[in-house]
């Protein structure tokens, strides 16, 4: 029983990281119809940026904020201006292909320019663990849970409760109506890209200590983010966190009770079940086929 609860707790912690990456992914889709296949690489880049800043002597918090800014500029503004804006009018698929190309470019560019080594990354939280009611919880898990969970919930509140947040949601749901209501659609879309850049940096900060920083670290996290987003419900921002946590917990349980070798396959199986049984996702709303 102790094992089980511990696995669930650390699974939730890992899952919230997936949730953070998935949330950015969902927001991009809602606000601009962008399916970002390079989302994993979007997490890998800030990790390298942080390493760079740490290397020149910055403390971790400063490195994180600097990486956040770099990420928002590069993965937010530049990504939108250079790739998304010119391609959006062609429809979904060319943009999907372009982001696939982007993921190849970023990954191979890092491999060619920096190398294929895996770099260790300092944890933002103290080492060690503490016990509550006989259950050992590591500070890293607790910190991850609080930070990632807090960010997702704060973002949800921002989207639901503030004028800007609601304006952003209005743009996502009905661009034309939002425009008629006098909402600056372009600015709102830009905000979403900026938020995605920041979320990528947060995910990088949290995941880098356990994944190590490597050119292909984005493959796993990217895939988990997609699956989490779809499992939770692609048209629901809340779904991202649920999907992420579900994957994190199930992975831990399967890894422990079934076989660690197939831990990576869990997300896929849940994903396949969801699209076969409930394609709109666990929290998503069904849409009737459009004629």
């Amino acid at each position: 029983m102790g094992d089980f609860v511990q696995l669930v707790v650390s699974g939730i912690a890992a899952g919230t990281i997936y949730g953070v990456a998935a949330l950015g992914f969902t927001l991009l889709w809602q606000a601009s119809g962008t399916i970002n296949f390079a989302q994993g690489e979007f997490v890998m880049l800030p990790a390298f940026a942080m390493l760079l800043f740490l290397g020149i002597g910055a403390p971790l918090w400063l490195a994180f904020f600097a990486a956040c800014i770099v990420s928002m500029l590069l993965l937010g503004v530049a990504f939108k201006r250079i790739i998304v804006d010119p391609l959006l009018r062609h429809g979904v698929i060319p943009l999907v292909i372009a982001t696939l190309g982007l993921s190849v470019f970023v990954k191979q560019g890092i491999k060619a320019g920096v190398g294929a080594l895996a770099y260790p990354f300092p944890s933002a939280f103290p080492a060690g663990q503490f016990a509550i009611a006989g259950i050992e919880v590591s500070y890293a898990d607790l910190g991850t849970l609080l930070l990632a969970g807090g960010i997702v919930i704060a973002l949800q509140l921002f989207l639901d409760r503030t004028m800007t947040g609601r304006a952003m949601q209005a743009c996502a749901q009905n661009t034309e109506a939002a425009r008629v209501l006098g909402i600056d659609v372009r600015r709102m879309t830009l905000y979403v890209f900026l938020i995605n850049g920041a979320l990528a940096a947060v995910a990088a900060l949290l995941i880098a200590p356990s994944y190590l920083v490597k050119f292909d670290m984005g493959e796993t996290i990217g895939l988990k983010a997609f699956f989490a987003a779809i499992i939770g419900g692609f048209n629901q921002t809340r779904g991202a966190l649920l999907g992420g946590v579900l994957i994190g917990v199930l992975e831990n349980l399967v890894g422990f009770y079934v076989s660690p070798a197939y831990k990576e396959g869990v997300a896929l199986v849940v994903f396949l079940l969801v699209i076969l049984l409930r394609p709109e996702g666990l929290l998503g709303k069904a849409e009737e086929r459009k004629v």
């Binding site: 391609l87 698929i93 190309g101 190849v104 970023v106 060619a112 070798a261 396959g265 699209i275 076969l276």
Partner: protein, 331 residues
């Protein structure tokens, strides 16, 4: 589905398969030149030519799935792997290549059929994820089931077949054998795409709702599009196993699938010869441009983005694009 969601997919002006005699003659000259090319190459060059043929089989199949039937697949390398492992395991057990080849093809056909089911529920990007996940799963099985697949150590000493008592053990005969098989497969696909089935695939791609209202069994054609594409990769896999003699999971990871998909699209999805251009770019060019090392793939990534912005129909749509621009320039 709105029409603009699939601008990547080619809009061929001519019939799906070029028919005119001059084209046929030109193709024959190119094929003969290519067949004779390894005579002037060292062993590694011959190997590359064979490898090119193997990937052609897989990408021609992929082009049917994505270019003609309008589906999305990021799992072609998994089928290549399944075919390769089936052939390798069987041949190590003493079974002949020509028994394992149809088995690999059939197995991939069946698995492709099964993989098509998610495609009936979801489209496009969801499908990309589903096939991508499938590839990850296959990779895990290949790596973890050591008792069957040899795990990361792979399978060594896979023999090459002999044909009518002639050994294909040496590189040159094996290349000609692979080339002939590739041409046969391409011809079969060409015939299939010219048949009413090819038209039904295109109808499915262009407008599934209208197609269904006209009696096109979109369920059957969607599943078949996956199964036929997978089957081609399975066949390619069997040739691959015999070609390299040693297989491990590495060449069948999803990056390989991604490269094949991007190759087909860069060449021109839905154009019969698009995969030739794409396979040159993903298999042969990196060898010629070895000095670029990893920068080659990085540059390829940039090229894909640029192509999507300026020439979404792929490289083979360039002549048409230029022609239409010239017409557009006239008063």
């Amino acid at each position: 589905m709105n029409a603009s969601s699939s601008t990547v997919i080619a809009r061929p002006r001519r019939p799906a398969v070029p028919r005119s005699r001059t084209r046929l003659a030109l193709a024959a000259i190119v094929v003969i030149a290519f067949a004779l090319l390894p005579l002037g190459l060292k062993s590694y060059g011959t190997y590359l030519c064979s490898l090119f043929c193997v990937y052609l089989m897989a990408t021609f199949g992929l082009n049917l799935t994505i270019g003609y039937a309008g589906q999305m697949s990021l799992g072609q390398a998994a089928f290549l792997g399944i075919g390769a492992y089936i052939a390798a395991i069987g041949m190590k057990a003493g079974l002949p290549f020509f028994a394992m080849l149809p088995l690999a093809a059939l197995a991939c056909f069946a698995i492709g059929l099964a993989l098509g089911f998610p495609a009936l529920r979801v489209q496009h990007h969801y499908l990309a994820f589903a096939t991508l996940g499938f590839n990850v799963l296959v990779f895990l099985v290949l790596r973890n089931e050591e008792a069957i697949t040899g795990g990361t150590f792979g399978i060594r000493g896979i023999p090459r077949p002999s044909l009518f008592g002639l050994s294909l053990e040496r590189d040159l005969p094996y290349f000609w054998f692979t080339l002939a098989s590739t041409l046969l497969l391409i011809a079969l696909l060409g015939w299939l795409l010219r048949s009413p089935w090819g038209r039904a695939f295109a109808a499915l791609r262009d407008n599934p709702i209208r197609a269904e209202s006209l009696g096109v069994n979109i369920t059957a054609y969607t599943l078949l599009a996956f199964a036929i594409g997978a089957c081609c990769a399975g066949i390619a896999g069997a040739y691959f196993a015999s070609l390299v003699g040693f297989i491990d999971p590495a060449p069948f990871n999803f990056t390989a699938s991604l490269l094949m998909l991007l190759g087909v699209i860069v060449g021109g999805a839905g154009r019969f010869l698009g995969p030739v251009v794409g396979t040159v770019i993903i298999v042969l060019l990196p060898e010629w441009l070895r000095f670029m090392q990893n920068w080659y793939l990085a540059a390829f990534g940039v090229a894909v983005i640029a192509l999507m912005v300026w020439l979404p129909g792929g490289l083979l749509s360039l002549p048409e694009r230029l022609a239409s621009r010239r017409i557009g320039a006239l008063p």
